[in-house]
Amino acid sequence: MVRTADAVVIGGGIHGCSCAVHLARRGISVVVVEKDYVARHASGVNAGGVRRLGRALPEIPLSVAAMGLWHNIGELVDDDCEFVPSAQVRVAENEDEARALEERVRLVRDAGFDHEVVIGPEELRELLPAVSPHCVGGMVVSDDGHANPYRTTMAFKRKAELLGVRILEQVCVLGIDRRQGTWRIETSADPLQTPVLINCAGAWGDHIAAMLGEPVPLRAYAPMLMITARMPFFVKPVVGAQGRTLSLKQFANGTVLIGGGVRGNAVRNTNTASLELGGLAGNARTAAQILPTMRGARIVRCWGGIEGYMPDGIPVIGPSQQEGAFHAFGFSAHGFQLGPIVGSIIADLVTTGVTEYPIGPFRIDRFDSSPQRQSNALT
């Protein structure tokens, strides 16, 4: 039996579920197709950072808008998602890094945003009493935060279902075909028919894009994380580093999560993420050098989630070159915070054809090197 809906979202991660919530709120009937189960991959197992700090410039307007939604996340999805407002700090380990941070803050300020602030050694120590003596300063956003990623994605899922969205788990998309202005989607279960198709397939987003005739150079990796046994409280903000890969936070239960995007290997067809121990060791070294208290931490578990990376490090968001199709994938390991707003942007594009946010930099044809694209770029 063919199932029909006003819109079909492919992918049950945070972006897919957020699109479903925002579309359903606008009265659109939605089916979400998920090949595994909701929050199985990057959306469920990421570090849960909710940060504007250090975002790529094109992402800042979206990130700032998302932050507004995060601070009232309960109103959107009826769950607090364990969102904890907290400062996020990026530590400078030498004067060069401190200067780079000052430069960065100026750049962001010139673009019209003032959430990032440079701090000196005293302020750094006030914020991070446990920081190593060699650190000279940092950059701070005082009201960022973190949340529980699995719980958040599940909250979006439950809210979507409450609004009437059908979520089909363990259903895989096998093929996409356009007939008379309608998408026919062949799946491992019943086929789906819809005028609007939304690709939120994350690390598999390139597969769906290719089915739409829009190949993109996405690479899948497994950003790695490790968590420690409970420790006495010693750090409040989420800690990153300017010169090295690090993101470290201590939860209310005392455990400390260390990540930041050191990549392990992902094998997409078997859903396996394997760890790269050399990378984890480097991550551990960074944590121990910036926060020496961490030396004695007991690591309980390391893992990786499969994530899609674009070559320029920013996602694909916006309309497809095909009519009636939209993309939101390839968030390159920093999509979690954007989840609440991206769903709203896609819902606006679907219902009104426009969005108030500058999504030009995220268009899918930016990787296209074909002659036609080149000439489009010239005109």
Binding site: R151, I299, V300, W303
Partner: protein, 464 residues
Amino acid sequence: MKSHYQLAIIGAGPAGMAAAAEAAAFGAASVVFDEQPAPGGQIYRAVETPAAVDRAVFGPDYWHGSKLTKTLRDSGADYVPGATVWQVSPTREIGVTVDGSAMLLTADQVIVATGALERPFPVPGWTLPSVMTAGSAQVLLKSAALAADGAVFAGTGPLLYLVVWQYLQAGVAVKAVLDTTPRSNYFRAARHLAGALRAPQYLIKGIQLLRGINKAGVPLIRGVTDLRMLGEDAVSAVEYQRGGDWQRIEADQVFLHQGVVPNVNLSYSIGCGHTWNEAQLCWQAITDLWGESTVEGIAIAGDGAGINGALAAEHQGRIAGLGALYRIGTIGAHERDRRAAPARAGLTAERRIRPFLETLYRPVKCFRVPPHDETVVCRCEEVNVTAIRKAVAVGCVGPNQLKSFSRCGMGPCQGRLCGLTVSELIADLTDLPVSEIGYYRLRPPIKPLLLEELAELQAPAAME
């Protein structure tokens, strides 16, 4: 220690020691990593240097272990005691910590011989201090000759009676034995008696143990259908139900036991395929005739691939060792098969008693799937039955989602103490077979690792 070995064996119990002896006999460059300070595994723990206890306490079966440890020491394999293997990758990269320093090395073949652990025994109060397992009672006796007078032992299974007997032999008083073996098991087991009689040594030993316990005048209370441990800061009493009535025994030390199950943490974390063994009520790695798992170059020997006991583990170790030698290319198929033949015959003989034991000592459901709301399932994160029921009620379909829902299984033990209970409990709540529920996806490190150890991790190339 080298940065690369032809064969790496993890665990120096009977399976690991036998595998090492076999491999070293053919000159394969081998290493044996073991967590303990001396070889022997749990079964032959401290067999080389027993605490100041009379040899007779442990019986002749235990002393057989000293032959094996001697073989290991003479084998020429690098034997590394005090080694914590915290990761083995599917490509046989091994992360191990010795004396506080972590290193990485590689091997052409790996034999996982990490043995068994005691089945969780989730009853109210099982997390109270001074409630321990019968296995740990034995460890105290074997390695330190520390044994508490007047303990209560409760549960079922050969090890329970063995440890009680050993305590009595050592002159340590035992207050009572509460036997949870259901009466119906005796009738069911009778069917397997004929097979068991082909391995009469085990039956005779069992009868001797029970007779010894009886003779010492220890109350052996059979037909116990429910248990709870009481106490404030530590256990002070055990209450048990028998024939519908609750009785109480004051006790400041309780040892619980209801059999042993494969220790699957390492094999799961490597990514080996596992299967639910309904007869033994446990997960076990899937292995072929040579002990090789579903991951190429990774073999599982001994109780880790299903419970068969110490002597069977020795045979399995030999077989796995020969299989690895063949895959390395050290021996041909003919040599391998010829040398494995006696071990196979021995293994078959050892397995004869299993159907009888598995049926007789099959733990009853109420001690595996805790019926009481407040019973703690995950000790590390203090998750109780109610929390798991709630998670399942809101759509949690398996152990991995349960971690995210409730933190169950996310503590330092990596699910060793709750994994089986969780699989069976979710199966019971969802009315699905346990085989469909599955087990935790296990993440390295499978043993806690200090951040500074990881930070100073030495790559194989840097080691030499």
